[in-house]
C-alpha cells in the first residue's frame, strides 16, 4: 500500500454517496435556483413600489382598532370551537384508521388501502379540502369542522400507525399467549405502549387546528378567517391588525398550553 492511498488532509464526508454525485446534486440545485429567479421575471420596479405601500399600510394598521371587539370575539370563539370539535372528531376517527394503517396489525389489503387514504389526505392542502366541504355542506363553521376533522384524523392516524408499528412485541405476545382476542390484545398490550405519545400528538394537533382554523375561513368555512378576509377586502386595515394580533395571541397561548401539557406528560 502506498502512502498516497491515505489522504493527509481531512475532508468532510460527501453527501449522496460520492463527491461527484454531491457536486452534481449541488450544481443541479444551484442551476434550478438561478433558473427560478430568471423564469419568474420579477418586476423590480413594482416590488420597490411596494415598500412605500407597506409603510402606508402599516401606518393605517396602527393603532389597531379593537372597537368592534364583539365581532372579533365571535370569530375567535368560532375558530376555537371548530378547532376543539375537529380535534375530537379527528381523534375518534383516527383510531380505526390508525389501526388499519399499522403494518404489524392489519391484513395487507386493508393496510394498503388505509395507507393510500392517509397519503392522499395529507397531500391536499386544508384550504382545498375546505372548498369541497363548503360545496357539500354549505358556508359556515360546519364545513370548517369537517375539513379540520378530516385533516386531523389523517394526521393522527399516521402518527398512531407509526407508533403501533414501533411497539415492543413482548407484551403483545404475552397477552396473546393468555388466549386474548384482537380487541383485548389491543387494549392491554398496545394501548398502554402508545397512549402517552398519542395524547401528546392530540394536544399538538389541537394547537395546529387552532392555527389552521384561522385560515380556512378565507374560502367561507367559518371562523376568524372569514372576518379577516372581509376586513382585508374592505381595506379596513386597522381592524385587520387587531384580528392578526388576536390570532397571534391565541396561537401563542395555544402553543404555550400544548408545550406545558406535553412536558407534564413526559
Amino acid at each position: 500500500m502506498s502512502a498516497a492511498a491515505y489522504p493527509t488532509v481531512w475532508r468532510p464526508p460527501a453527501l449522496f454517496g460520492s463527491r461527484t454525485r454531491q457536486r452534481i446534486a449541488v450544481s443541479c440545485g444551484i442551476a434550478y435556483f438561478v433558473w427560478s429567479i430568471i423564469d419568474l421575471n420579477v418586476d423590480v420596479a413594482r416590488m420597490l413600489a411596494g415598500f412605500p405601500r407597506a409603510l402606508n399600510m402599516l401606518g393605517r394598521m396602527f393603532p389597531p382598532d379593537f372597537g368592534r371587539w364583539a365581532l372579533l370575539l365571535d370569530g375567535m370563539v368560532e375558530s376555537l370551537q371548530m378547532a376543539l370539535a375537529a380535534t375530537l372528531v379527528g381523534a375518534l376517527l383516527s383510531v380505526p384508521l390508525g389501526l388499519a394503517a399499522a403494518r404489524n396489525l392489519a391484513p395487507k389489503p386493508i393496510y394498503v388501502v388505509a395507507r393510500g387514504f392517509i397519503v392522499l389526505g395529507r397531500t391536499l392542502h386544508e384550504v382545498i379540502i375546505a372548498i369541497f366541504c363548503v360545496k357539500l355542506f354549505g358556508f359556515g363553521p360546519v364545513a370548517g369542522l369537517i375539513t379540520l376533522g378530516f385533516a386531523s384524523a389523517v394526521f393522527l392516524a399516521k402518527m398512531l400507525a407509526e407508533d403501533i408499528e414501533n411497539v415492543r412485541l413482548g407484551p403483545v405476545e404475552a397477552i396473546r399467549a393468555t388466549g386474548a382476542g384482537f380487541g383485548q390484545m389491543v387494549t392491554y398490550s398496545i394501548v398502554p405502549q402508545v397512549l402517552a405519545r398519542t395524547v401528546g400528538m392530540l394536544i399538538y394537533r389541537l394547537d395546529a387546528n387552532v392555527r389552521h382554523s384561522t385560515v380556512i375561513g378565507i374560502v367561507g368555512a367559518g371562523g376568524i378567517g372569514q372576518t379577516l378576509s372581509a376586513s382585508f377586502s374592505r381595506y379596513d386595515y386597522d381592524f385587520s391588525a387587531a384580528i392578526l394580533l388576536s390570532i397571534i395571541a391565541l396561537v401563542a397561548l395555544g402553543e404555550g398550553f400544548s408545550d406545558w401539557v406535553r412536558r407534564k406528560l413526559r
Binding site: 435556483f33 427560478s36 370539535a85 354549505g138 363553521p141 360546519v142 389552521h212 379577516l228
Partner: protein, 270 residues
Amino acid sequence: MSEAGVAKRYPEVWRRRSPRESALGWLWTATIALAAAWSVSALDIEWAFFADAHVQALDLVQRMWPPRWSYLPTIVRPLIETLHIATLGTAIALVLSVPLAFLAARNTTANGLTWAIGRALLVASRSVNTVIWGLVFVAIFGPGPVAGIAAVAARSVGFLAKLMAEAIEEADRGQIEAVQATGASTAQVYLAAVLPQVMPVLIGTTIYRWDINVRESSVLGFVGAGGIGLYLYASINQFAWQQVLVVLTTILVVVLLSEALSAYARARIT
C-alpha cells in the same frame, strides 16, 4: 407501626390507579366532554345539510368525470411558478432565519431584551398562516408570485429559526469554549463553533420546509399570490369541475414528488 396500619397501606386488591389518579382521570374526561358539548352545540350545526351531503358528493364526482386533459398544457406554467414560489420563499427564509435564530437562542442572544424580541418575532411569524401572510403581501406588492414568495418566506422564517434556535441551545459547550480559548471574537465563535454544529439541522429542516411550502403555495393563488391556486379557484368558480379534477391530480403528483425528493435528500444528509 401497628398491624392495621400496615394492612391499610398495602391494600389486598391491586388497583392500577390510586383514588386521586382516577379522580383526576374522571375530571379530565368530564372537561373534555364538556368542551366537546360546548363546541358542537355552539356551532349551530344544520343537520339538514348532512342529509343530502352524499347526494351532493355523488353529483360532484359525476360532474368531474371524465377529467378534461386538454386543460393540462395551460397549467404547466402555473405549476412551475408554484415550485418557484416555494423554492425562492424557502431560500429567503433560510437567509433571514440564521440571524433570527442566533437572536432567539438563549445562549447566543445579547441580553434578555434581544431574546424577547427574537422570540416575539418567531411567534408572530409562525402564528400567521401562509395564506394569511399572502393576504397581507398581496395588499403590499399587488397580486402575483412576488407576494407569494414573501408570504412563504414570512411563514418559514419562524419555523426554520425556531428549530435552529433549539439546536443552538443544545450545541456542545466544549467546542464553543475551545474556539473561545483561541481568543476568537463572538462572531468568530458563532461561525467556527456554533454554525457547523447546527448545519445538519439547518439543512434538514430547510429541505423539509421546502416540501411543506410546495403544498402551501398550491393554495396561495386563492388570495391572488400566484401559482396554480389561481387556476384551481377560477375553475371552481366557473363550475368547470372536469378542469378541477385535472388541477387536483397535478397538484397531488407534484406534492407527492416533492415530498419523495425531500425525504430522499434528508435521508442522505442526516
